[in-house]
């Protein structure tokens, strides 16, 4: 029953930081790389910027206009858009990649520091939500 005892020690959420969208390049999905001050004690600026930049690159890849997306668009139009019933769009494929990357980052970088990244798709691609958990452990002052 120690399992249930451990459940009691849920780390409390101390605060949440929201990384807003950067619209300077237009309506494409891009997040601001400005390092929030609340994370200064927990995370390297470089690490944070790398995460956000990678996310921005992945979203740019999803929304890229190029031969492949045009082909997909034209094919869809010709089939009266019924092709989306059986085929996954390019955007969806990249979203899966993004989900995997975030999970990866959480496991390797953020969870050990008591942080949690939330996939922006769960917030309507408006923000990257970073949950800061209370640091209750002694001696883990990283």
């Amino acid at each position: 029953m120690t399992h249930s005892l451990q459940n009691l020690q849920q780390p409390n959420v101390s605060s949440k930081v929201f990384i807003q969208r950067d619209y300077s390049s237009g309506t494409i999905c891009k997040f601001q790389t400005k390092f929030p001050s609340e994370l200064e004690s927990r995370l390297d600026k470089q690490q944070f910027e790398e995460t956000v930049q990678t996310l921005n690159n992945l979203y740019a890849e999803a929304e890229k206009l190029g031969g492949k997306s045009y082909l997909e668009g034209c094919l869809a139009c010709l089939t009266a858009y019924t092709i989306f019933l059986c085929m996954e769009t390019h955007y969806e494929k990249v979203l899966k990649k993004i989900a995997k990357y975030i999970k990866d980052q959480n496991e390797k970088v953020y969870a050990p520091r008591g942080l949690l990244l939330t996939d922006p798709i769960e917030r309507g691609l408006r923000v990257v939500e970073i949950t800061i958990f209370e640091d209750r452990s002694v001696g883990s002052g990283r």
Binding site: D22, G26, T27, Q32, G73, A80, Y81
Partner: protein, 464 residues
């Protein structure tokens, strides 16, 4: 508090008390619900969240009836004659066009136009905090606009009081649907939905294919009547022999003007990468205030603009309609029952604390995986399946009246928050990234033919 309460709680009781709490919860908890059931906007959902429609779905049933009846009359009365006298391809072409029109229409109506989900309470609080700390200490309400530089153009982002977030550029709040819609074009009652980023290409293919269909039927009916009257009969006699053709002629005649006009208008909008909303408001009109205004979203090439709008990547639906709601009512009751055991917690040393934090975070991450599986699945479920379209046809109530003047009903509605027209430079939140200067030649497309009045905000009364 008596100590015996703690003594009574032994490991066996631990298994009993949560379960008794669960029984208690079981009576109170509801069956697991999907997110569409608690969606805050004014929308209707079908097929367990796969199909979405505006609550005021206007005259969509009438649109469907009009198209089906006209084509039905065409196939029943004109095609036999034309097949006999001309070619069998006429009903084939008509059939293909008809199918394309219906599919595009249903796709437009039942696809999420690009609705932005409302901000979570934490986000809303964070934004409020940012606005308040910008230094507005006077009596008047804080300004609710944010300026960003997009391609050397200053764009004002407005705060939406309903959705509690700053709207992305080109997003507008539709009061009929009570949602913020990305790249909001207009709310079309004929289609029963907003037209926005995700369904604009379906809308465009609908009106273009409808133009072809009405022109085709019009031409065929004229041919039919001409051929009949040429065979030694008068025009009146020919019409008497085929009265349905007159009905079709009337319907098509009135439709052609408006539909062709609408197609032409939207072709222009696509070529210049504008939305109806922006065009009506004159957002990028060159007449404004002598400053250099131009559309910052245009790629300055007609072909690129067309390709970007029509053949660009299909963005996913941001409202997770078919995701499950977290069973939040279970968590508070469970935790209150376990709150009685703090003394057991104190037993654990620092090492266990670290382990449990990591373990908890791991569990949280794993549980997030479960939720992440849901959103990407929704776009695949947005296209209507065969069962979806048939259920729609059955649920559509055929309207009695027939009206043949589909005006482009443009309902760009400005958000009901009037107090932010001032831009206080001190208070506005600037984008933190340096506005990089892109080499942007001035937009070449002149809008002389389509410049509307200079009124800064134009709001439309919804047409009945």
């Amino acid at each position: 508090m008596k100590n015996c309460e703690y003594q009574q709680i032994d490991p066996r009781a631990l298994s009993v008390s949560p379960s008794s709490a669960e029984n208690h919860i079981g009576k109170r908890s509801q069956r697991p619900r999907r997110k569409w059931e608690v969606f805050p906007g004014k929308n209707r959902f079908f097929c367990d969240g796969r199909l979405i429609l505006a609550r005021q779905n206007g005259v969509l049933p009438m649109t469907l009836v009009l198209i089906v009846v006209t084509c039905g009359l065409f196939f029943a009365f004109d095609c036999p004659f034309l097949v006999e006298h001309l070619t069998v391809f006429i009903p084939v072409i008509g059939g293909v066009l008809f199918v394309f029109v219906i599919i595009s229409l249903l796709r437009t109506s039942f696809t999420d136009p690009g609705i932005l989900p409302r901000a979570t309470p934490d986000e809303a609080a964070d934004i409020e905090k940012q606005i308040d700390t910008s230094g507005s200490s006077s009596y008047r309400p804080p300004p609710r606009t944010k300026e960003v530089l997009i391609n050397q153009q200053v764009v004002k982002l407005k705060y939406c009081f309903t959705c509690k977030t700053f709207r992305p550029p080109r997003t507008s709040h539709c009061s009929l649907c009570d949602n913020c819609v990305e790249r909001f074009d207009h709310h079309c009652p004929w289609v029963g939905n907003c037209v926005g980023k995700r369904n604009y290409r379906f809308f465009y293919s609908f009106i273009v294919s409808l133009s072809f269909l009405t022109s085709f039927i019009f031409g065929c009916v004229i041919t039919h009547i001409t051929l009949r009257s040429q065979a030694g009969k008068s025009l009146i006699q020919a019409i008497q022999e085929s009265p349905a053709s007159v009905v079709e002629l009337v319907i098509c005649f009135f439709s052609i003007w408006s539909i062709l006009g609408l197609s032409g208008f939207h072709t222009y909008l696509i070529a210049s990468n504008l939305t109806t909303n922006e065009d009506i408001k004159g957002s990028w009109s060159s007449k404004r205030a002598g400053e250099e205004y131009g559309n910052p979203y245009s790629y300055n090439s007609i072909i690129t603009n067309c390709c970007a709008t029509l053949c660009g990547p299909m963005p996913p639906s941001l409202i997770d309609r078919r995701g499950w709601l977290p069973l939040e009512e279970m968590i508070p009751t469970a935790s209150t029952s376990e709150m009685e055991l703090p003394t057991f917690v104190a037993k654990n040393d620092a090492h266990m604390c670290t382990q449990s934090t990591k373990g908890m975070l791991g569990r949280v991450v794993r549980s997030l995986d479960f939720h992440e599986l849901c959103p990407p699945g929704t776009p695949k479920t947005t296209p209507m399946g065969p069962e979806g379209s048939s259920s729609v046809a059955l649920s559509a109530q055929p309207s009695a009246s027939v009206s043949c003047a589909p005006q482009p009903t443009l309902q760009s509605v400005v958000t009901p928050c009037p107090h932010f027209s001032r831009i206080n430079k001190r208070d506005s939140l600037h984008s933190t990234n340096p506005a990089f200067r892109l080499a942007s030649p001035s937009p070449s497309l002149s809008r002389a033919g389509f410049v509307l009045e200079d009124a800064p905000e134009v709001s439309f009364v919804p047409l009945p």
